[in-house]
């Protein structure tokens, strides 16, 4: 197994997911299968192949520096669970 339970717990923490022990075991196996599948590419010689920057062959999609319309603050804040003084409110950070 390339993926240990410790790896799964670490990735879960980074994604802020609370996993049960049973889930950790289950996901370790699933992630292992995924990695193994992706690992197939290592069988190929990719020395002269450029890394893919994007899945579609587009480049230089840029916009001019023009000001457009913004949301009204009450619309921007409409889905905020908590708000105060026209600001989003978040619980204490540290």
């Amino acid at each position: 197994m390339a993926i240990s339970e410790k790896d799964v717990k670490h990735v879960a923490w980074l994604a802020r997911l609370a996993l049960s022990d049973a889930e950790v075991e289950k996901f370790a196996k699933q992630l292992d299968v995924i990695l193994e599948h992706a690992g197939k590419i290592a069988e190929l010689d990719t020395k002269d192949v450029q890394p893919t920057a994007h899945a579609i062959p587009l480049k230089n999609v840029l916009r001019e520096d023009k000001v457009g319309r913004c949301l009204a603050p009450e619309v921007a804040l409409a889905n905020a669970p908590h708000q105060e003084d026209q600001a989003f409110v978040v619980p204490r950070i540290v």
Partner: protein, 481 residues
């Protein structure tokens, strides 16, 4: 043991564009909270970012100005982290292919010159602003925080230096030079008070002569050039003591406290710096035409180093003056406007600008382009000295008045009766009085004591309330003695 400090700076600069990096929201500073947001900068599902062309151009111009290689191919990555300053839970930034790499900045210190390498310049988006409620406004101890996303998504350029800086003075000089260059380029106003230029410093110590780097601390909250210099000086002292006592330096982020004059561990949530960068699938790569880049190079405006050379060759200024005048673009502009108005010696303008004007600006903490004294004030005042209306001494008094009120020199001279007394008869009478009232000093002068003469001149000046023409007093006093 002798230690050497190794310092590298990360300078973040908000670019002076009208609209944000990936959406059309305005970047204006100081508006009511959350009035400049849209689905893109709020990270709403289904919204798509599109990069601001001008911001890309500004970063490339900066790279050209500090001798970087410009990447002909570049792309944006997502930097993933959970923190309430970004609604998307990632920041769009650049990773392995920044827009510019390998530049440098030359510094002229008081008695030596040095070069600071620039590792990279990349483009990203600024984060939102947090307002901590309770706990005296500090994040540690606050009850909760308010978030304003007006700043989230403003184009932000990060300039990362090599660890080539050795002293707090070099750090300050480097940051000041970067600012002068950016302001000359017109890519940012670099206003440290408003946070459009922010400096973080990495600093470690190592025994002199050793190659290997020591453990570093990252310093934050350096909100002025003064804080940068003082914060680093404090850290050098702290780390030196620790190392001499055999203590280990902990790699950490430290907060500079300007009022207490110390740094302290910044308590932030323990999160691993595991950003899992990956190319942003919402943004396609950028490829630049070398000809377009050469066009930008050809259009670069005059930069501080070139300006300094010109001041030395065209105006005959000493290197010391020229260096100080180009430290900010506004100072150089002031100097040039004054020289253009004034027919005489440019050095005289330089002396007043670097002397009295700088003194008053610093003591009142005013920027040169925001002060009451304009080039026209200075020139009119110097012309009053030149034609003998006022003495250099009165000019100093006049300058203070001009600085406070912004009135023109001629008006102040009239209003306050500051004109110089140059009438032969009037001065002669005063000189006679001085001689009559100070027989001891007169005797001392005749005994060969030169200092007694200076005393008598001083007495005459006092009687004229500083308005007597010094040359005339000197001459008449000599004649009568």
């Amino acid at each position: 043991m002798e230690f050497e400090s190794v310092i590298g700076l990360e300078i973040h600069v908000e670019l002076d564009t009208e609209s944000k990096m990936f959406c059309g929201c305005s970047t204006r500073f100081g508006e009511a909270p959350n009035t400049q947001t849209c689905p893109v900068c709020l990270g709403m599902p289904g919204s798509l970012p599109v990069p601001n062309k001008k911001a890309v151009e500004y970063v490339i111009r900066t790279g050209l100005a500090i001798f970087c290689d410009i990447s002909l191919f570049s792309q944006f990555h997502r930097k993933n982290y959970f923190y309430p300053d970004m609604p998307k839970n990632y920041q769009i930034s650049q990773y392995d292919i920044p827009l510019c790499i390998d530049g440098h900045v030359d510094l002229e210190m008081e008695d030596y010159a040095t070069t600071i390498g620039v590792t990279r310049i990349h483009l990203e988006e600024d984060t939102g602003k947090l307002l901590h409620i309770g706990g005296a406004g500090r994040i540690a101890g606050a009850d909760y925080s308010q978030v304003d996303f007006n700043r989230a998504g403003v184009p932000l350029m990060e300039i990362v230096s090599e660890p080539d800086i050795r002293t707090p003075e070099e750090a300050k000089a480097y940051a000041q030079k970067i600012r002068a260059i950016l302001v000359s380029l017109g890519v940012s106003d670099c206003n440290m008070d408003q946070g459009s230029m922010r400096v973080d410093a990495n600093i470690s110590l190592r025994p002199v002569g050793r190659e290997e780097l020591g453990v570093k601390a990252e310093l934050k909250n350096l909100n002025s050039f003064r804080s940068l210099q003082r914060g680093l000086a404090y850290e050098i002292e702290r780390q030196t003591k620790a190392l001499q006592n055999g203590e280990a330096i902990v790699q950490e982020t430290r907060h500079w406290d300007e009022t207490k004059n110390t740094t302290s561990t910044l308590r932030t949530k323990e999160y691993a710096h595991d950003y899992r960068y990956f190319p942003d699938p919402d943004l396609v790569p950028m490829e630049f035409d070398p000809e377009w880049i050469e066009g930008l190079r050809a259009e670069l405006p005059e930069l501080p180093d070139e300006r300094k050379e010109r001041y030395m060759s065209d105006f005959g200024l000493p290197a010391h003056d020229a260096n100080l005048l180009v430290e900010t673009k506004a100072t150089g502009d002031f100097f040039e406007a004054a020289v253009a108005l004034y027919g005489g010696d440019a050095k005289i303008m330089s002396n007043w600008i670097l002397g009295d004007l700088t003194y008053y600006l610093n003591s009142e903490n005013v920027e040169i382009d925001a002060g009451e004294v304009k080039p026209a004030h200075l020139v009119e005042m110097v012309e009053l000295i030149d034609d003998g209306t006022i003495s250099g001494k009165i000019a100093k008094e006049l300058f203070s008045e001009m600085f406070k009120t912004g009135k023109m020199p001629k008006a102040i001279v009239e209003e306050k009766g500051m004109t110089q007394i140059s009438g032969q008869d009037e001065i002669a009478k005063i000189v006679d009085d001085v001689i009559a009232q100070n027989p001891d000093a007169v005797q001392e002068f005749h005994d060969g004591k030169e200092r007694a003469f200076g005393f008598l001149v001083g007495q005459a000046m006092r009687l004229t309330k500083g308005r007597g023409n010094p040359q005339l007093i000197n001459r008449l006093l000599k004649e009568r003695l």
